[in-house]
């Protein structure tokens, strides 16, 4: 259960939002909406613990995420604007190393299977810089499956994806939620996934 109370965000001298409350329970997902520059990404980065809120507190299962620190990060997965992929490495290596950084084991067979599911069959050994934007995005999203996190924080996960991939990702999120997972995401289009809550900035 993720809860936040009285969040205030100040960027430079501008106050983006203040006194924001939100709560996400298992099986629910939070759709963060707002215009460009309204502070969607800032809110997401606060929820991950990367950015400090000017005021307010964020709790995970009733404990402050500052106190939980590593325990919170183990339960949470954040995928941001950036690829977080190394262009020189292959999708397989990228997935394996990402898992290793998280201190998790990832068998090669599982990694190959996930990449196949994401439609990257035949590109497992190609350096990422030769992939298209959409394909890079899929490599990144493959981490959703390999890293078993309870809370997904996704910044614009649907950009650069084709219709098929969007459907697949929506299905993936639905599956995650019905397993008792939670998700927070920003997106410009409305997604027909059950358990939706909306926050407007």
């Amino acid at each position: 259960m993720l809860t936040a109370t009285g969040l205030t965000c100040v960027r430079g001298e501008r106050r983006l939002f203040s006194g924001l409350d939100l709560a996400v329970a298992p099986g629910e997902w939070l759709h963060v909406q707002g215009e460009n520059g309204a502070g969607k990404t800032s809110l997401l980065r606060m929820l991950t613990g990367l950015a400090h809120a000017e005021a307010g507190e964020i709790r995970w299962n009733g404990e402050s995420i500052r106190v939980l620190a590593e325990d919170y990060r183990r339960d949470m997965l954040f995928l941001g604007h950036h690829g977080a992929l190394k262009e020189e490495l292959t999708p397989l290596e990228n997935l394996g190393l990402a898992a290793a950084l998280d201190g998790a084991e990832l068998a090669e067979k599982d990694a190959l299977d996930v990449l196949r599911r994401f439609g990257l069959r035949g590109r497992e050994e190609l350096p990422v810089r030769f992939l298209s934007a959409g394909q890079k995005r899929r490599v990144l999203l493959a981490r959703l499956v390999t890293r078993k996190a309870k809370l997904w924080v996704l910044d614009e996960p649907f950009t650069a994806l084709d219709v098929k991939a969007v459907d697949m990702l929506a299905g993936l999120i639905g599956e995650h939620l019905s397993d008792g997972g939670m998700a927070v995401l920003t997106s410009h289009q409305a997604m027909p996934i059950a358990g939706c809550k909306v926050v407007k900035l």
Partner: protein, 221 residues
């Protein structure tokens, strides 16, 4: 611990795929060292006298070259964010990155130094001491440099600023490193210098990753 090894392995793999960067720093080291006799003249006694200082200053500058790229690529592609959010403590991962930086840009200098020392007419004993000082000293340079690299992350004109911040902090390493070789040549024995250099290294191993981590968190915010 496993994650630390993983990040070392990753950075080494990346360095292998971008060989040119590593080699550039190495050639820079060779060229700078070789320029000194050309500028000063080939008199062996003089060259022997300046050799420790020249080799150390050149090593210092060569490590500076790679420093800026220690965190910048990871910062640009979002990997650094993922590292900060990984369940592994960021300090460990940073330690791994520093170790990788040393393996890529410090260790080759250590191995190359005796060959370049021959150009300066150093005898076998002095060469041995030189290698030992660099072996202890270059990790120190990587550790201190990491703090500067993290502080200047994502700042315009970061490269020049980085050298401004880091070079004054390199002074003790330079003094004890070059001093050890000097002391050996003049028959005083390098022990005192070396143990001080080792003490500095121990101090830096303890503090530098911590300071670097704090600086990185600030840069990510």
């Amino acid at each position: 611990m496993k994650s630390m090894l993983a990040i070392i392995r990753r950075d080494l793999l990346l360095a292998m795929r971008r060989k040119s960067e590593v080699l550039t720093a190495l050639f820079f080291f060779m060229i700078v060292v070789s320029l000194f006799p050309l500028g000063i003249g080939p008199e062996p006694a003089l060259l022997r006298k300046i050799a420790p200082g020249v080799l150390w200053v050149a090593a210092l500058l060569a490590t500076m070259l790679g420093l800026q790229r220690m965190f910048a690529p990871d910062h640009a592609d979002g990997t650094l964010e993922q590292m900060a959010l990984s369940p592994t403590p960021l300090g460990l991962l940073v330690g791994g990155k520093i170790a990788a930086h040393w393996l890529v840009s410090g260790l080759p200098l250590v191995l190359l130094a005796p060959v370049l020392g021959l150009q300066f007419d150093l005898d076998a004993g002095a060469l041995g001491v030189l290698v030992v000082t660099l072996l202890v000293g270059t990790p120190l340079l990587s550790l201190i440099g990491a703090i500067g690299a993290a502080l200047t992350l994502g700042i315009r004109g970061g490269g020049v600023l980085l050298s401004l911040l880091v070079l004054p902090l390199y002074v003790p390493a330079l003094i004890f490193g070059a001093g050890a070789v000097d002391a050996h040549i003049s028959g005083l024995g390098a022990g005192g210098h070396l143990s001080l250099l080792a003490a500095l290294l121990a101090l830096a191993v303890f503090f530098a990753p911590w300071a670097t981590t704090a600086a990185l968190r600030i840069a990510l915010e």
